[in-house]
């Protein structure tokens, strides 16, 4: 059940996308998020889809696998699509069902917005699939460094992020174990009405909370024992190394943005 989660998962690999500097990847994703909104015509949207497909192939990911990950937000996508389908007016009337009408503009907007959303989700999925959580937090810490001037505790925030990311798989494993242990005791989560299903969660959450608190305390002690005092005087074990190919990747993304801007109508 939990194994189907694709969000926030990292697949090790050696593709060019894997090897890019995580800072370059994050910046490129941010750029792409803006670029997506340049497209306002079907040629633009086709270009976006081609771009993501090429990117997926370059990152050595299977397209089918990526689309399986999209299933998670399928409901959101469908919802967006149907909202536009029914409520965006304009163009010719395609269906007139009396109390509702579907108009051509609604269909077009619905398809466009859904593609936009899907592209946004896909590119962030590609980012997390090809970048280890540690690299991601390192990159975020480096990118956010200038904020220190405004007394933002960048290092501490990055540490919190990496600790949380580090414990997601552990918590998942633990949840799965406890679910198994309780269901071996005859607890049922899949049957019964909403109320009894909610009640069935107590035997899972209480042990989970208890072990999380215990783990947090143990970790705090372990860090203190090893003399952790925040950022002061710390060097980095993993040093990020910006290379020409990272610059090149960003330039490519900008060129792609310019092309999309040019074909706007």
């Amino acid at each position: 059940m939990l194994s189907k989660m694709l969000l926030g998962r990292y697949i090790p690999g050696s593709s060019i996308i894997h090897q890019l500097d995580p800072r370059a990847k994050i910046l490129a994703v941010v750029l792409f998020m803006a670029i997506v909104f340049f497209a306002n015509h079907w040629t633009g949207y086709i270009l976006l889809i081609v771009f993501i497909t090429v990117l997926t192939k370059t990152a050595d990911l299977s397209i089918r696998f990526l689309f399986n990950g999209l299933k998670l937000i399928l409901i959101l996508l469908l919802f967006t699509f149907f909202m536009h389908l029914f409520f965006t007016k304009g163009g010719t009337v395609l269906v007139d069902g009396g109390f509702f009408t579907i108009e051509s503009e609604g269909v077009v907007r619905g398809v466009y917005i859904t593609i936009r959303l899907a592209m946004l989700v896909l590119i962030t999925t590609i980012l997390t699939l090809t970048t280890s959580p540690l690299q991601l937090t390192d990159a975020i810490e480096r990118i956010a460094k200038p904020l220190k001037v405004f007394k933002v505790p960048v290092h501490e925030i990055a540490l919190m992020m990496s600790i949380s990311l580090r414990f997601i798989p552990t918590l998942m494993d633990e949840t799965e174990k406890i679910i198994k242990a309780q269901s071996a005791r005859g607890s049922t989560f899949m049957t019964g009405n909403l109320m009894s299903r909610l009640q069935a969660l107590t035997p899972i959450f209480i042990p989970l909370f208890i072990s999380s608190f215990k783990r947090a305390e143990e970790m705090a002690i372990a860090m203190e024992v090893r003399g952790y005092q925040g950022e002061e005087g710390r060097t980095h074990y993993r040093v990020l190394n910006w290379q020409w190919k990272d610059t090149f990747a960003l330039i490519l993304m900008i060129i792609f943005g310019i092309i999309l801007w040019m074909i706007r109508q």
Partner: protein, 286 residues
């Protein structure tokens, strides 16, 4: 209850890049009332096997026959629930599953899920807590106020109170002190003998497997590579070495002594038997 695996194959994360074949075409039977051991190196498929035994995992291919219940890839929740009633499972570190306000309530959780009414469940809970030497004065206290060893016992009582016909033990003594270790293993032995239930022990502790189990199944890389009498398989050091398993201490000692010319009439299974055999040998050779 007899449990049979027929051409059982288990695959994790099927059709994803994380696909992993955990069990490969297993055919075997767990007879009623026998004390089994399942051994194998880490990642050999032991935990997949025991989770398949009580319906926590369904086979990807093949069948599990548990008594008259058939489990397959697409079995119904109702059948799975029925299997759980007959096959109890003590997980590794079972104390992590405690959640109720009081010790008594926690032990009653399983029996009540299995359809016993409040009074019967309470009777069972009290009986098994007593069997595990948990003092009646602790029944109303929070399970989280107990010591680690006591928590483990309460959790085990929670499984026993469901009165399963088959009891699966996954590393039941991990992290226990030597005294509790012996007590716990002795208790399972007693339950096995007095109530005639099937016990399936999964552990890395070869000494326990050798001392307590009657039959063993050896897993390696998802295959069932050997099954047979414990006394036959675990005394075969060459065989164990092939599957990266450590022979039990007492077997190693007996074999070393044999090389030095001290030969016993039989291979001892625990320290007491060893001492006895050694005394006998001394009386005959001194």
């Amino acid at each position: 209850m007899r449990i049979t695996f027929k051409n059982l194959t288990s695959i994790y994360h099927q059709n994803t890049p994380f696909e992993h074949l955990a069990l490969n075409d297993i055919n075997t039977t767990f007879e009623e009332g026998v004390y089994y051991g399942i051994i194998g190196h880490t990642g050999s498929g032991k935990s997949t096997m025991i989770q398949t035994l009580n319906g926590l995992l369904l086979p990807s291919r093949g069948e599990v026959h548990a008594g008259d219940i058939l489990l397959r890839r697409k079995s119904k929740q109702k059948d799975i629930h029925r299997v759980k009633k007959h096959v109890g499972m003590v997980f590794q570190f079972p104390e992590h599953q405690l959640f109720e306000e009081t010790v008594l309530k926690d032990v009653m959780f399983g029996p009540k899920n299995m359809g016993m009414d409040e009074t019967v469940a309470q009777e069972k809970a009290e009986y098994y807590l007593d069997l595990l030497n948990i003092d009646a004065s602790l029944f109303q206290s929070s399970p989280f106020d107990l010591s680690g060893g006591q928590m483990r016992k309460v959790a085990i009582a929670g499984i026993l109170a469901m009165e399963p016909e088959v009891l699966i033990l996954d590393e039941p003594t991990a992290g226990l002190d030597p005294k509790s270790h012996i007590e716990t293993m002795a208790l399972f032995k007693r339950i096995h003998q007095e109530m005639g239930i099937t016990v399936i022990l999964v552990t890395h502790d070869m000494n326990d497997v050798y001392e307590y189990t009657e039959y063993v199944k050896i897993l390696s890389g998802g295959h069932l590579v050997r099954e047979g009498r414990t006394t036959d398989l675990l005394t075969d050091e060459k065989l164990l070495e092939r599957f990266a398993l450590e022979p039990p201490d007492i077997v190693k000692l007996t074999h070393d002594l044999e090389n030095k010319g001290i030969i016993f009439d039989s291979v001892p299974r625990n320290v007491e038997q060893f001492t006895e055999l050694y005394e006998e040998w001394r009386a005959g050779n001194a």
